[in-house]
């Protein structure tokens, strides 16, 4: 996508420069004659190509509805976007803001899961068994 945009921008800039230069030369030699059709067409085409290139090189939009945005985050995870800092560290895309809650741990997972869902009865049963065994593992 960026390659298409860069080529469009380069071609558009070349044509635009040429068209503006031609107009300048034309008005310098024939001050009161109307502009020839080919220069007008070249100018308009170059403007179109350049604006298409600008749109193509712009960063892609992000979905604003929370469900779609979060869905995309969990599907793609954090990944590099081809940008690096001056120190050489890769800049990652934005991540899940609730990752610190440990939701992925869950009941079947390795970790405790969300703190609000701490399994009190399970813990009490574990403690009872531990106490029954004389406090040894």
């Amino acid at each position: 996508m960026t390659l298409i945009g860069a080529t469009l921008n380069t071609v558009g800039l070349l044509f635009l420069t040429h068209a503006v230069y031609s107009t300048h030369e034309h008005t310098a030699t024939f001050p009161h004659a109307p502009l020839p059709l080919d220069i007008t067409i070249e100018l308009l085409v170059s403007i179109l190509v350049l604006s298409a290139g600008i749109v193509f090189t712009s960063p892609s939009l992000k979905p604003i509805v929370w469900a779609r945005w979060a869905g995309r985050l969990s599907r793609e995870g954090r990944h590099g976007e081809g940008k690096w800092t001056r120190e050489g560290e890769e800049i990652l895309s934005e991540g899940d803001p609730y990752a610190f809650l440990g939701l992925d741990g869950g009941i079947g997972g390795k970790r405790e899961g969300r703190l609000g869902f701490w399994d009190v009865r399970g813990k009490r049963k574990e403690y009872a068994e531990w106490a029954k065994n004389g406090g040894k593992q």
Partner: protein
């Protein structure tokens, strides 16, 4: 009230909205000065230039609609009509007039 309930059910991500608005305003200011260059070298005067600018921004909005938002602007903008089609048109007008007059003076005068 209706909209408030809708937003409570489907909340909106503020950072994404900010990012999208930023992208649109960047594109607008770049293309506005570009259209100014074209209008100045074509020697447009008074209303013709402003109509040219409006047509140009409409074309750029069309590009944004097809290439950036995949034909579904309501997924990326809260109010597609105001944020995508009409977003930052007036603020781009000043840079349009700036390059318009500059290139008119350089090429024509």
């Amino acid at each position: 009230m209706e909209e408030e309930r809708e937003l409570a059910i489907n909340p909106i991500v503020a950072t994404s909205m900010q990012h999208n608005t930023q992208v649109v305003s960047n594109i607008r200011s770049l293309t506005a000065s570009l259209f100014g260059v074209a209008a100045g070298t074509l020697g447009m005067e008074s209303y013709t230039g402003f109509i040219f600018y409006l047509i140009g921004t409409l074309i750029v909005s069309g590009f944004l609609f097809t290439f950036r938002s995949d034909g579904k602007p309501s997924e990326y903008f809260h109010r597609p009509l105001g944020d995508l089609w009409g977003g930052d048109v007036v603020s781009g007008l000043s840079s349009f007039v700036l390059t318009w007059t500059l290139f008119y003076g350089l090429v024509r005068a």
